[in-house]
């Protein structure tokens, strides 16, 4: 009897101890759960903030990419403008040099050399013929470079491309001007520019083949040729034979 009571008392005490321990574990686990939930909430907040930051960085990246694209487009535009300025400066330089040479001397021979040099150095052809209108209305060769002078000694005004340009007063540019009936030898013509003085045609400048490295006449070349058309006729009209020129600048 005594053993059974002690046993029962012992079991009861152990059960109570066990229950107390379970309750303690339960209390600790509840604290742990609360702490984990709190940490979970903090991590969710952090994640939301990181996602927000990522979105802002992505937007910033897009802005930078657009800015870079715009800067590249502006850079390309500035480069193209620079090239355009360079071409314009080169063209103006050519015109200045041509004017200096045309009006740098009143000696006729020097002037004819200057015209040849302008065509060779600035335009890019070593084949040219310069004509003046004779008293009979036909064209007379006064200067030739790289072409048969005997072949081009005289040309009837109005005949062929060169004669036609002189008669009409209209320039002819290969590939740009309407086709005209050519006389033999004019197949290699690149341009023919009437020379004018005091409002009338006084001659013509014919440019034949271009230098190998020159595929075609460019706008700057046409400007030089037009200047020759407008100025060379006047200059030649004022020129004096060699030895008679006075005060000519050298």
């Amino acid at each position: 009897m005594i053993d059974q009571s002690a046993y029962i008392l012992r079991v009861r005490q152990e059960a109570q101890q066990y229950a107390r321990e379970l309750l303690e574990d339960n209390r600790r686990l509840r604290f742990t759960i609360v702490a984990l939930e709190s940490e979970n909430a903090r991590l969710r907040d952090d994640l939301a903030k990181l996602r927000g930051e990522e979105e802002r960085q992505r937007a910033r990246g897009l802005e930078l990419a657009q800015g870079l694209e715009q800067a590249e487009a502006e850079s390309r535009e500035r480069t193209e403008r620079c090239f355009a300025f360079e071409r314009e400066i080169a063209s103006l330089s050519n015109l200045y040099v041509a004017m200096q040479r045309l009006h740098g001397s009143r000696d006729r021979d020097e002037m004819l050399v200057a015209i040849q040099e302008i065509v060779t150095t600035l335009v890019g052809s070593e084949e040219m013929a310069l004509f003046e209108l004779g008293a009979d209305g036909n064209l007379v060769l006064v200067s030739a470079l790289g072409v048969d002078a005997a072949r081009w000694a005289t040309l009837a005004s109005g005949h062929g491309i060169i004669g036609g340009a002189a008669a009409s007063g209209e320039r002819w540019i290969a590939g740009q001007s309407p086709r005209r009936e050519a006389v033999p030898g004019e197949e290699r013509l690149s341009a023919c520019i009437p020379l004018e003085a005091n409002g009338r045609v006084v001659g013509a400048l014919a440019v034949f083949g271009l230098l190998p490295q020159k595929p075609a006449l460019e706008p700057a070349d046409l400007q030089v040729l037009e200047l020759l058309g407008a100025q060379a006729g006047c200059a030649l009209g004022r020129a004096e034979p060699r030895g008679a020129a006075s005060g000519a600048s050298r």
Partner: protein, 136 residues
């Protein structure tokens, strides 16, 4: 003809050789704003004389000239101790490969074809004579 700003400190010197006054005027214009002293000659023979007298740092040489052409002048310059190290840029209307090879065989260092392109000429000149920064 020599173009020099009075009072300027010693600058690199370029000798421009061409029988065409138009070409001389054109090349002088292209180089006028560069920090170089310019000297000119009208043919190969004069180029030899001026090269010995002026000791340029660079020579721009035309090919087709009276009295002495560019190739011959180039060979003559290369044969003399005083001038053999001066770089020579040939300026030619003939850009065909065989003419370019002739130029290199005669001793030129580079070439440009005519009509001369200003920026191209400046770039080649700068290759041999880099523009110096002005003293502060």
């Amino acid at each position: 003809m020599s173009h020099e700003t009075p009072g300027a400190r010693a600058r690199k010197k370029i000798l421009i050789v061409d029988d065409s006054r138009t070409a001389l005027l054109m090349e002088t214009m292209i180089l006028r704003n560069e920090p170089y002293e310019l000297v000119t000659a009208g043919d190969g023979q004069e180029a030899l004389e001026k090269a010995l007298a002026e000791r340029p740092d660079l020579i721009l040489m035309d090919v087709m000239m009276p009295r002495m052409g560019g190739f011959e002048a180039c060979r003559a310059l290369r044969s003399r101790a005083e001038t053999r190290d001066i770089p020579i840029i040939m300026c030619t209307t003939r850009g065909e490969l065989d003419n370019v090879e002739l130029g290199y065989e005669s001793g030129c260092a580079d070439y440009v074809v005519k009509p001369i392109n200003g920026p191209e000429l400046l770039a080649k000149v700068h290759d041999f004579l880099p523009a110096e920064e002005p003293a502060r």
